[in-house]
């Protein structure tokens, strides 16, 4: 089966062609047009600017992907597209394009939940997945623990009660005035800092549930900044390192706890924040230490892309295009 995936939920316009044979997923072509430099000066994604750029980029991105994959539209078996969650105006560009292509080419269409697609990025590794799996999904808008019983049975068992982990990185970067996007900036500065310099709160780490809270961690950074006499480069590096360590401690310890509680075989990582090297390393070590298999996507497929959408399209159900609408608040 050959699937064309389309993704435009935030600030990346992406398309991919994935070929599925047996249990193998091969990426024949994939393109990501990022708007990160456009939004950098605003310190975040501006919806109408994003939508305008999606409109400019979407057709060239699809064309380039098909060209790269050496695939003609008639060879495609289905079109998979993200319909939520995300920014409504961004989502609409991808979804309406996919519906139009599906109608013009007479191909079935599958509407994909973006967060599920992030989880499916793990399937692109083509490793045997031993179920059940506990997956930590971390991104700018989400922090969730998802129990996966088979290729399409997903159940949320824990989540953040306030800010998402990626959002906490962005906001702490703003508090420290070190730039945007917060994730990469903080981990870069953290390399030169001392993670033990500040003893920050690790909210809910010992709570008897599988939920997270990152708002309190952000607030404890705020208090430390207010207390500090000088916020020089060394202070910032130390704070970045301490904050990153605290966030990762909570993420990893709750994931291990969830994995033990649900007696899973494998621990999985997904979502944009899974590109964070310290998180990858720590979770991988801890999973091994506690005797779990461990799986995570390659760094390039951690952030938004369409290959993961195509994989999700393989496991999803087709629907008449008239019945598909964007859902910016869609949950997992």
């Amino acid at each position: 089966m050959i699937i064309l995936g389309i993704e435009s939920s935030c600030d990346e316009t992406a398309a991919a062609v994935v070929k599925i044979s047996g249990r193998r997923f091969d990426i024949l072509g994939h393109t990501i047009s990022s708007q990160i430099n456009i939004h950098k000066k605003y310190g975040g994604v501006v919806p109408e600017v994003a939508a305008r750029n999606h409109i400019i980029n979407i057709i060239p991105v699809v064309e380039q992907t098909l060209h790269q994959a050496k695939i003609q539209p008639k060879q495609i078996n289905r079109v998979a597209v993200t319909y939520g969650p995300g920014l409504i105006t961004s989502l609409m560009v991808g979804l309406e394009t996919a519906k139009t292509l599906s109608f013009a080419w007479q191909k079935p269409i599958v509407a994909i939940n973006h967060m599920r697609a992030h989880i499916y990025a793990n399937w692109l590794e083509n490793k045997k997945i031993i179920f059940p799996v506990m997956c930590l999904v971390v991104s700018g808008g989400h922090t969730e623990l998802v129990l996966i019983k088979d290729n399409s049975k997903f159940k949320k068992v824990g989540q953040t009660l306030d800010d998402a982990a990626g959002e906490a990185f962005d906001k702490v970067a703003k508090l420290l005035d070190v730039g945007y996007p917060g994730g990469p900036v903080i981990s870069r500065l953290a390399k030169t800092g001392n993670a033990k310099a500040f003893n920050l709160a690790r909210p809910m780490i010992n709570a008897n549930n599988l939920d997270f809270s990152f708002s309190g961690l952000k607030t404890s950074v705020l208090y430390a900044v207010q207390k500090a006499k000088r916020t020089d480069q060394k202070f910032k590096a130390d704070m970045c390192a301490s904050f990153q360590q605290a966030a990762i401690d909570v993420l990893v310890s709750k994931t291990i706890k969830a994995a033990q509680q649900y007696k899973v075989k494998t621990i999985m990582l997904s979502g944009g924040v899974s590109a964070n090297l310290l998180l990858r390393q720590t979770l991988s070590e801890q999973a091994g230490y506690f005797g779990f298999e461990f799986l995570m996507p390659r760094i390039d497929f951690c952030t938004d892309n369409a290959a993961m959408v195509a994989v999700a399209g393989y496991f999803g159900q087709t629907k008449p295009y008239q019945k598909i609408k964007v859902d910016p608040n869609l949950s997992l």
Binding site: G43, V46, P47, G140, D162, G166, S215, K218, L222, P328
Partner: protein, 143 residues
């Protein structure tokens, strides 16, 4: 009205108390720095209105809509908007958020409302949270 809150729990309870005075159609315009407790207050308002779902920060998607089981039978929506990432009113108008303003079936709560002052109706209830020492907050509610 001026209130003082000693901790997050009190801020939450104040939000809950305010919610009980609402009838639908109101806009709550929150302002206050990072870490002031706007989301905590919002969670209190949502709980007071009868929202059962977990209220998470709308920073990333700008707007989240919840469907409360409210004592006010006509209240169908709790609209939680966050202007933290936006530069001005355009982005908020662009995602259709203003469609929910002044609708009797909706209560709208806007965090970082000072960023979209230009499009706030005069009837908006202004809530300003100021960080005092550590966990203490001063909360001013101007109707």
């Amino acid at each position: 009205m001026r209130y003082f809150s000693k901790n997050a729990k009190e801020t939450y309870n104040l939000g809950k108390k305010i919610a009980l005075t609402l009838k639908g159609g109101e806009i709550l315009a929150l302002s206050g720095n990072l870490g002031a407790g706007k989301t905590v207050f919002s969670k209190g308002v949502a709980a007071g209105l009868g929202v059962k779902a977990v209220i998470t920060s709308p920073t990333f998607v700008l707007m989240k809509i919840y469907h409360p089981k409210s004592k006010i039978l006509t209240l169908k929506k709790f609209v939680h908007i966050d202007c933290y990432r936006v530069d001005g009113p355009m982005a908020i108008e662009g995602i259709g958020a203003t469609d929910y303003f002044n609708q009797s079936d909706s209560v709208v709560l806007i965090e970082w409302a000072e960023k979209i002052k230009k499009i706030l109706p005069p009837s908006a209830i202004k809530i300003k949270i100021k960080i005092l020492k550590e966990d203490k907050r001063e909360i001013n509610i101007i109707k």
